[in-house]
Symmetry: C2
Amino acid sequence: MSVYTPVSESQLAAWLKGYSVGAPCAFEPVAAGIENTNYFVTTSQGRYVLTLFERLPAAELPFYLGLMAHLARHGIPCPAPIADLADRYLSELSGKPAALVTRLPGASLERPGAHECAELGGLLARMHLAGRSYRGYLENPRGPKWWRVAAREVRPFLDAARQRQLDDELQLQARHRFAELPRGPVHADLFRDNALFENGRISGVIDFYFAGVDCLLFDVAVCVNDWCLADPASDRRLDETLTRALLGAYAALRPFSLAERAAWPVMLRAAALRFWLSRLRDFHRPRAGALVRVHDPEHFCEVLRLRAGAGSVPWPG
Amino acid sequence: MSVYTPVSESQLAAWLKGYSVGAPCAFEPVAAGIENTNYFVTTSQGRYVLTLFERLPAAELPFYLGLMAHLARHGIPCPAPIADLADRYLSELSGKPAALVTRLPGASLERPGAHECAELGGLLARMHLAGRSYRGYLENPRGPKWWRVAAREVRPFLDAARQRQLDDELQLQARHRFAELPRGPVHADLFRDNALFENGRISGVIDFYFAGVDCLLFDVAVCVNDWCLADPASDRRLDETLTRALLGAYAALRPFSLAERAAWPVMLRAAALRFWLSRLRDFHRPRAGALVRVHDPEHFCEVLRLRAGAGSVPWPG
């Protein structure tokens, strides 16, 4: 359960008077989510998620909420922030910055098939195309600069082989800055648990609080590294059918450039490196009092090792 | 059927490539609506309404679409305009200004009861509160200035008694300018067929193309004159239970001022006058080639006569 800040029913009812969504009729804490406190809120008008921001820098919140609002008004099924009567997406509740967003239908899938990977690929392309007109700017907070900081923090906890793997990967990535690739706002954390499906269609993309401006291809690589594994628990090689389904559906809407095709193998490694580092940090340097479920860092160490191996990277026809 | 401008499936598919809503899978003309051409469009992403604007002044369209977008992002269940890849709500299709908006669930009710009148009253209040932060401005295009123009046009078609009724009403209204009443964006046409219900809850308010800035109380009067009749077909007196339900639910969220309570009887007459005039005009001066279903002007002549009578205006306790 990720509830760091309790909110009472009467606090909620008073706070909702500042909105146009009617009175609350149901209210429950959300178990998922590791960065913020979330509640499901049902009012006479509809279903919402209330988020209290626990540790995201306040200066970054307008970027995330503005991006979600931008994508939602382009028809992307993402949480749409609700503006309050003072016309703000952000207000304050229990001493924390707080936002109300629409709650989307559907449920995430543990083992998506080729059809679902294609759904995700298509939505990702539409999201990237719609995002290009977004005027907010925030450099991906988990980009190359952050990798170097995080690597210094976690390196002492690694054995010699993993230290070498990390050093080699940072050096390889430093030689590839991808300045020529198309950039824009990316979700940057679109794992299976951040996509909702209903009746076989993708019905929602959630949790934009790792979003930032980066290479669009980085977002694709993050997805492929999570959605297209032969077996997420035991075989982290890429399944060729799933990978082709995701990439093919994406490319049908936003064809990859030659530079992107050339960058692909290194980008898959970059995406693996980013999550290896954050999981190492969560594992070895947990936040005090955090109720975060810690993921095994070895998963992404193995993904990175496999992507660095030869001949393992399918690419659509 | 109100389709003035035909659109082919291939035209639609090409036009939708400028949006982020996926490819069309179903497409049908909408029978209702008298000012615009409307199509229901279903894509892989969702359900939408495509509107081609046939005769609304192009300069007014941003006010309407901006208002709908503003209300939607405040949680009001109204059609949300979808922005295209160039980040515009308005584009062009078949030589007409065109917009894509979300399609809302539910169906309108012929005979709303007290529960539904209360639902409508509550939603109207929330819409007025949310609308106050909207920065667009368009004087109600069917306001007092328009009444005088329309009256000159239709007066020659009336018998002597109705000419006198019209002259008297215009004179009475001219003595009441309501400068002291709260104003803001109002729907101004929220008849029963412009509200959708689903499972007993109001699920949508549609057709904002008569909206404008006016007294908020004018909007309430338009609703009461249509929703709260003893019998819409045969007895246009106000049903006291329905009227109290609508006004009470509204006032619980936005209490009426003393000035509004004083203005109420004259405002009910103003709202009846506005629709008597437009129906007279549609009846006696129909547009060439228009497929508009003409409503009987006598309905609002009778509503006006009854509201001008004594003791007929309930007001919540």
